[in-house]
Subunit: 232 residues, 2 copies
């Protein structure tokens, strides 16, 4: 491969695995348990952000001051509520296939998620992503999306400059973080965001899901399944 | 009021009550229970349609032929899964207030929903809608949205021509049904649809929720709370 072939940085929730709506329900349960009522669509809009930003933002939506302690409590409850449902997470169409295809073509890729390792682990297992892939999860001290940190670290792990990376994500926050990182953002609708919202946030292209993206990889200047031999 | 003052036909789920995401989860559970895996965002997109169209459409999304018997079974399971969660339904901001305001101003209004009476009842109780309001639910023999039947029947109940009605709904299917009925459609984002999607489906205006709509009623040529005295 020439150095001009981009590397791929994939978001996890809503992009590779069908977990966004489970996160929505888990946040709703966490808030409800603390007597906070936030309309569910406003929760959905914030999924994909780092969870401190979600917790803070949701409190703001209902114009209610929350203490740092309360925000920590909301995040803890969300994490518990999500882990309780973790066995309901399924792969999204094309997720496993696009990763294999990239590997087969020699295109470098990894995953960068705002989730911590514990919440991400089952999804990584479903995808068959092993320890050889330098997955970036959000651990203590790192800023989550829409900050660019996770994608910058992922690019660094792949030893590719961020400008040579294509970020694939389902949420506004992925696309904003991609731009902040200087990478190209590609949107997928599988997290429930509309095409127009993703385009307005700067998506270079928008596809239904990774299955649709895999069929159209040539649009990004990457060989699709039919062109695989050219890259070998 | 002059005959030129429009009447309002409100959708229920996602417009007045925060139930769309509970319906999404209920459909996902119904499908999963029958071994059918449909990506959750595709379920979300169909909420607000009549449930025979949802059941049929979802089977089509995964390119799997389903028998009529299976579709009846999916609908039955969805209904059970939703009723199990009915106590989690909450009012959306502004819902109760906008209905009271319409009543206070002498603007005629009612509710037209693709749900049947059993599924709608708890939401109507939350709203404090009594038997004096000619609510239209979908009963045997009626076609649900995006067919115009429910809105046509609601207009008829109010004795107002459909052309003099404003439909308020959160989904594409409300807006398509409104156009089919010859009514003006106004979108609210509280079901999780993006503004652009609702506009593209023909929404005359789009608001975050009924609370925002209530604050901007003058944009529709109806007195807002501050103009209430003019209508009295």
């Amino acid at each position: 491969l020439t150095p001009k072939s981009p590397a791929f940085l994939f978001d996890l929730d809503g992009t590779l695995v069908d977990s966004v709506y489970l996160h929505v329900i888990a946040w709703a349960e966490a808030l409800e348990g603390m007597g906070l009522h936030v309309a569910t669509w406003r929760i959905h809009q914030r999924i994909g952000m780092s969870d401190d930003l979600i917790a803070h933002g949701l409190a703001e939506e209902i114009r209610r001051e929350t203490t740092e302690q309360e925000e920590i409590e909301i995040r803890k409850r969300h994490s518990e509520a999500f882990l309780k449902r973790a066995d309901q997470v399924r792969l999204l169409p094309g997720a496993k296939e696009i990763l294999s295809h990239m590997t087969d073509c020699g295109v470098r890729w990894t995953i960068a998620t705002s989730s911590n390792r514990q919440r991400a682990q089952r999804s990584l297992d479903l995808l068959g992503v092993g320890k050889d892939v330098p997955v970036v999860t959000r651990e203590a001290g790192m800023r989550g999306k829409p900050n660019p940190d996770l994608f910058l670290k992922a690019a660094e792990q792949l030893k590719v400059p961020p400008e040579a990376c294509i970020v694939v994500g389902d949420s506004l926050w992925d696309l904003l973080a991609a731009r902040r990182a200087g990478a190209l953002g590609v949107g997928v609708r599988s997290g429930g965001y509309a095409e127009a919202e993703l385009s307005h946030a700067g998506a270079y292209r928008v596809y239904d899901d990774t299955a649709a993206l895999l069929r159209r990889l040539d649009e990004l200047g990457i060989g699709g399944p039919h062109e695989q031999s050219l890259h070998k």
